[in-house]
Structure formats: structure tokens, C-alpha cells
């Protein structure tokens, strides 16, 4: 009988994980999926974003997000099927939530995670406004951001089913 208990313990295997409370999980989990689940409170306007962009982004991403030395953020809409496609946030990225997720965790590159949620919302609003994806008077928040329809939203073929075969 004792050996049966021992066998059951071996089968269960070691369990060295420590349970984490929901507040700790929330403080770690900054990723934002297309549904917008997890987007924080707060908001930001195009005008506010233009100010932040001039202070913290323009030196790498260029005037109006035209790029150089870092990747262009704007332009290129309608070029993807041409001989010289121009891939930018505006022309290629399928989801606006990705922009919030990425800016908040990785930008500016010299000081990642230094922007407030307000600044991130504002930057997303500004960048998307340059090519008219959102209006000049747009305000981005947890409600409006996931509803933005990116020009290349339907431009991707999910090839992962093929990977399964």
C-alpha cells in the first residue's frame, strides 16, 4: 500500500510552482490582443500624440512617421501588390492594438516602458491619423482602439494549419 502511494507521487511528478495572485499577474501582463482585452483606462488625442511624437519619436521615425533611420510608420497604403511594396504601420499592420502593445513595452528604444498609458494612446491616435486611418479629432481609449479598422486587416493568410500537417 505504501508503494502505491509512492508510485502515485512519482506519477504526479514534482510541483515546484508557486501560485500567483491576480494583482501580481495583472502587473506583469501588458500584452494586448486584437480584442483589446487588458487595455488600460485613460485616453489620448491626435493633438496630444503629435506633441509626444515630436519630443520622443521624430528623431528615429522621421517627420510624420516617414521613417529613417528607423522603420517608417506611415505611407505605402495601396502598394503591397505593386513591384515595390512599402510596408509600414499604416500600410501593413493588421491590428491597431499591436501598435499600443508594442509602443508601450518597447518604445522609445532608449527608454522602453517609460511612456504613460495616456502618452501611448495619444501616440497611437497621432500615427494612425497621418494617413487618415483615424480622424484628426480622434481620441483613442479602451473602447475606440480595438474598433479601428486597419487598411490591411484582411491581408494575411493564416498558414499555421499547413504547419500542423
Amino acid at each position: 500500500m505504501l508503494s502505491a502511494v509512492l508510485l502515485a507521487m512519482v506519477a504526479a511528478g514534482p510541483q515546484f510552482g508557486t501560485p500567483v495572485d491576480s494583482a501580481t499577474v495583472a502587473s506583469w501582463d501588458s500584452s494586448i490582443p486584437p480584442s483589446g482585452k487588458g487595455l488600460p483606462s485613460g485616453q489620448g488625442s491626435v493633438a496630444e500624440g503629435q506633441v509626444v511624437y515630436a519630443q520622443k519619436c521624430v528623431m528615429c521615425h522621421g517627420v510624420n512617421g516617414a521613417g529613417k533611420p528607423a522603420d517608417p510608420l506611415t505611407g505605402g497604403i495601396g502598394t503591397l501588390a505593386s513591384p515595390k511594396p512599402v510596408k509600414t504601420v499604416a500600410s501593413y499592420w493588421p491590428y491597431a492594438t499591436t501598435l499600443f502593445d508594442y509602443i508601450r513595452r518597447a518604445m522609445p528604444i532608449s527608454q522602453p516602458r517609460s511612456l504613460s498609458n495616456h502618452e501611448v494612446y495619444a501616440l497611437v491616435a497621432y500615427i494612425l491619423s497621418v494617413n487618415g486611418i483615424v480622424r484628426k479629432d480622434a481620441v483613442m481609449d479602451a473602447e475606440t482602439l480595438p474598433k479601428v479598422k486597419m487598411p490591411n486587416r484582411d491581408g494575411f493568410i493564416n498558414a499555421f494549419g499547413a504547419a500542423r500537417r
Binding site: 503591397l80 491590428y95 502593445d101 513595452r105
Partner: protein, 411 residues
Amino acid sequence: MDTKPTHDRRQFLQSTLAGIGSAAIPMSVSADDYLEPSMTTPGQPFTPYGMPSPHEHVQRLLEPPAEMAWPLTGVSFTPIESLEGMITPSGLHFERHHNGVADIDPKSHRLMIHGLVKTPLEFSMEALLRYPRVNAMHFVECAGNSGGNAGPEPPQGSAGAIHGLISCSEWSGVPLGRLLDEAGVLPEGKWILAEGADAASMSRSIPLPEAHEQAILALFQNGERLRPEQGYPLRLLMPGWEGNLNVKWLHRVKVTDAPTMTKDETSKYTQSLKDGRALQFNLILPVKSVITRPSGSMTMNGPGFYEISGIAWSGHGKIEQVEVSMDAGRSWTRAELVAPVLPKCLTRFRLPWQWDGKPAVLQSRSTDERGNVQPTRAAWKTPFSSVQFYHYNAIQSWSIDSDNSVKNVYA
């Protein structure tokens, strides 16, 4: 900044084939010539960590800083033309960083598993080291490797400068599935998001069934703890899948119902087609090979004997065969595969060759156990947009000229 390699750089490594083709020259030798200095003087003392001979200068090839938008985002290349066998020395494993090499204290580093699980858990590195381990030899390849060959003109440089975002190690660690089971994945869980603790919080989504079955939480590389450049103290290893999703400095695994659609799985690492659409989540790396000796920027020693040698690999399993052509693909000869031949691992191949000194074009073509065959460059290019370079696995052509030079050509 993207992973597309740059090639119009100076030659950092002047590789030659010196000695391979040279004929034996009779000489008279005096008795003293037999005594090398090292035979008459005591040697160097013991050292706690051995280094390569000071006479060896094999190094990773760095990108020229002037071509980098930000000096901490880019790659360094494994000098595959200078290496033997199947294992990459840890210090020569290629690098791809999105904002520098994270400096992490293992005492404070934790892995959290959360999302669609019964019990969110965190694991100290000390706790992870107590689990039963698995060991496996696998390559890691950047999905942008060899991308320069997708461009209109063949980039000139060493094999490493063109194809060096490939390395192979023995990895040891804990199966991710064991920890997912411990946390208890809920039925709605279909994907995971893996996030690194670097200054980019590098994040990728991976389908849950494959992650549960195949992913290793790697703690060791080639017998010792991971190198910082490879994600110390913890990296995710998905054998045979895009290097980018082998997230380094791993600190968070979130179980989700769908892909998170991170920047690196939408704007990058997707393959644009001619019609403007793009393939997404094409995650397994295709069958591939490259002759590393002789290869680009080397100098031949004139006509005579050479051993052709190279590496082959596939994200789909084992290498079944490698064929070599000396006439730009008109005729093929099967090369010897060097044991062991392991799945999702570099396989060394060899073939003896008598070079007659006339111009030749060397190619290698690998086939994996699933029957996948390396395509020609023209076939590879056919479906794709002009700017698409990910998953480039076309046959490499090295042109050998009668002036002993070896160049990268499209043939």
C-alpha cells in the same frame, strides 16, 4: 531595423583553403628542427575556463555600426565556413537582439505561467533546476537567414556573412508541457504568448498543442548554463521553428484563446506574396543546406584534391540525403552524411572532389525525411513579393573560377 543581413561589408575573415591542396615537398630536416620550443620549456599554467588558442581568430561577424539604425538591434553571424562538425561553440552562436543583451540575475528572475490556466504559477530558476530534464541537439535559425540571396544581386562575402544566422547546440532543460500541466490549462486555451525580459519585451504567439508537446525551457547550452546572448538564464526552444519565437530571457508564458498578434508576428516574420497578401504563422523552417568549404571569399589552391563539406538541416525532421553538383545542377552526386543524423539538427556532409582548375559552380541540394527538397532560387522566388526574404532556403551556388576565387552567384 529588420533581420535582413547586409553584405557589402569588408571581409572580416580572410578564409583560405591553405594546406588542403598542397603537395608534399621533401625536405631535409636537422635534429634540432624536431624540437619545437614547447618541448624544451614548461608550458602555461592551469586555467579555470579555457579559451581558444591565441593563434585562432574565428569570430562572429558583426554588422557595420554605420548600417544600423540602433546599435543594439540587429544580428551577428556564426562563421560557419570556419567550423567543423555539427555543434556551434556557444561563444559563436549567432545573435539576434531587439534591444541589446539582457543582463539578468538568476536569483531574482522568475517565470510566470498565467492566462487561461486553473492556477497561475511562478517559478524561480532554483525551482526550475529541480525538475527532471531533457537533452536534445537542435539548430536555431533566424527566419531571416540567407535573406540577402532574395535580393536582385548576389551578395558577396563569406558563407557566414550570407548564411550565418544558423547555429546548433545541445540544449537541456524542462519540457514546457510539464509546467503547463502543473498550472492546468483550461479548455479555451489554444495558443501561448511567450515574452522575454529584454528591453523589447520580445513576444511571440505559438499554437498550444505544439508548444505543449515540443517546447523546452532551456537552461543549459552545450553542457553549461545558457550564454547571456542566448537568453540566460532561461529561453524557450521550439525545435525547428523560426528562431524569433525561441524567446530568450523568458519570463512570461500566457495561455490565450487566440494569437496576440504581436509586432513580430504581424509586421515582421510574415511572407509577402506577389498579390499583396502575406503568409502568417508559417512557423516551421524549411529544408536547407549550404556548402561551407569551399565557399564565398575563400581562395582555392589550384587544381587538385578538395573535400567539399557543408551543413544541412530541416525544421521538419531528419536530413534524408544531400546531393552535390559541380556543374550548376546539371549532374548530382550523393554526399556522405556524417553520423549522427538527428531531427531538427545540423547534419554535416562531405564529398571528395578532384578539381581540374576549370570554372565550376558548386551546389548542394538537401532532402528531408518528409520528402521536402530544397528548391532552386527561381522556384523559391516565384510566389513571393520582391521584398520578401523570410524562410529563404533555395539552393546556394558558389562559382569557382580558374583564378582560384570563390563567389556567390545565382545559377
